[in-house]
Amino acid sequence: MRRSDPHLAARVGLWLGVAFGLCFATGLLSHAAQHPPGWFTWPTRPVSLYRITQGVHVVSGVAAIPLLLAKLHTVYPRLFQRPVVGSVRHALERGSVLVLVGAAFFELVTGLFSAAQNYPWDFFFPPAHYAVAWVAVGALLVHVAVKLPLWRAAPEPRRATLSRRGFLLATGGAVAVAVLATAGASVPWLRRVSVLATRSAALPVNRTAAAAGVRRVGDGWRLRVGAREFSLAELAALPQTSAELPIACVEGWSASARWTGVPVRDLLALAGLPVGDVRVESLERDGLYRASTLPAAHAADPLTLLALRLDGAPLPLDHGYPCRLIAPSRPGVLQTKWVTSLEVR
């Protein structure tokens, strides 16, 4: 029977710890960007900030999948240790490992499925994924505390199909292949290589007008800003700003495009409103993301636009015609489409 290999387990464990650490930190950032606590301000620069942090979140999660399997492989015989529980201390240690493995699989599996917009479960994904992340990282810290002395374990002679070096090479290769196969969803030059990437088009649509229940928008449409109203022609007659800004989805894909429209702060000034947190409402009747709150820092940014045009052409209905919010460095679900009103709160 093959024995476990503490030396190898510690090496793979370090890589896995780095992947989980990156994933946890970027996950907390994404959570704060979407539900900002009072003391927190998500920066508006660089414009790709959220694109980068959320890309790292999904890529490090994908990298953790082969690392978790490799890590379990290095300790496989210990998973079937008898007696199941020897002492209180032993019970606590094994219990913490069960919590760690359960929570780690939960995070990676639900994250992978959610990135594919595939939800084969009954619970609501975001709060469950967020809560279990704390459990996983907590159990990971306890595990490191318990196992820290083994870091210095000397390598023992190994009896296995792969040598220790071969095992690390295969694990590293699996991480590289997993990342290459998926990262094209956010890294433009990998798009053709990443055969398992979620994004296929240069600029995808995450929620179509049909899915949102938004049909033809007629001439009667008006944008309400405080007490003022603007028709589409009036908006188009205002000074326009063009900017290259990314849509960066919480599910990891991102894509840049050239947006043209009126800066939100100009509209607030025309309506005589001070810059503050701005409530942005959509024509969409219901749905989790039919409205968003634009933080004051974003509202004041000259690149935060109500876009009327995309890559030089009028905004397509699926991208939010007659106008949509596009702000630098924001989660995609908060870039509200089919905007009807701006209200300073």
Binding site: V62, I65, P66, H73, Y76, L79, L98, V99, V101, G102, A104, F105, F106, V109, L112, F113, A115, Q117, N118, Y119, P120, W121, D122, F123, F124, P127, A128, Y130, A131, V132, W134, V135, V137, G138, L141, V142, H143, A145, V146, L148, A160, T161, L162, S163, G166, L169, A170, A174, V177, A181, V195, L196, T198, S200, A201, A202, P204, V205, T208, A211
Partner: protein
């Protein structure tokens, strides 16, 4: 000391996570929390162990490393493809998302992996040390 502090922070994080879980759908979440270890220990690990044994006992030495590595990569690519190929619970289709030819992509990637393993194995086979050579 370091270990005590690490452990205490870990316990605090874990309790915070449990507190956040309390108002949520605990039976459904609990099922998915247990599913990972059970499926791994009962299905994935024995499968990997069995294939490892077959490769280790059944193949000549120069071929073992490349074939084992290719089997690992095939498994990882296959796992990553599951949410893209098995979609009875997926949301409505969106233009430009999740509409690549995933079967073809998976086959191409796996084919490339095994072609590389064949080349590496053949090179190692030819350049292996021979008795009395």
């Amino acid at each position: 000391m370091t270990r005590l502090v690490l452990g205490a922070i870990g316990v605090a994080f874990g309790l915070w996570g449990v507190f956040l879980l309390l108002p949520q759908d605990l039976p459904a979440i609990g099922l998915w929390l247990l599913a990972g270890p059970v499926v791994h220990d009962a299905l994935v690990a024995p499968l990997v162990g069995g294939i490892g044994l077959l490769v280790g006992r059944g193949l000549p030495r120069p071929w073992r490393g490349p074939v084992a590595a290719a089997a690992v990569l095939t498994g990882v690519l296959g796992l990553l493809a599951v949410p893209l190929l098995w979609r009875p619970f997926a949301g409505p289709a969106n233009p430009g998302l999740l509409d690549r030819p995933y079967w073809a992509g998976l086959l191409a990637a796996v084919g490339l992996v095994w072609a590389t393993a064949l080349v590496v194995g053949a090179v190692r086979h030819v350049s292996r040390p021979r008795p009395g050579g």
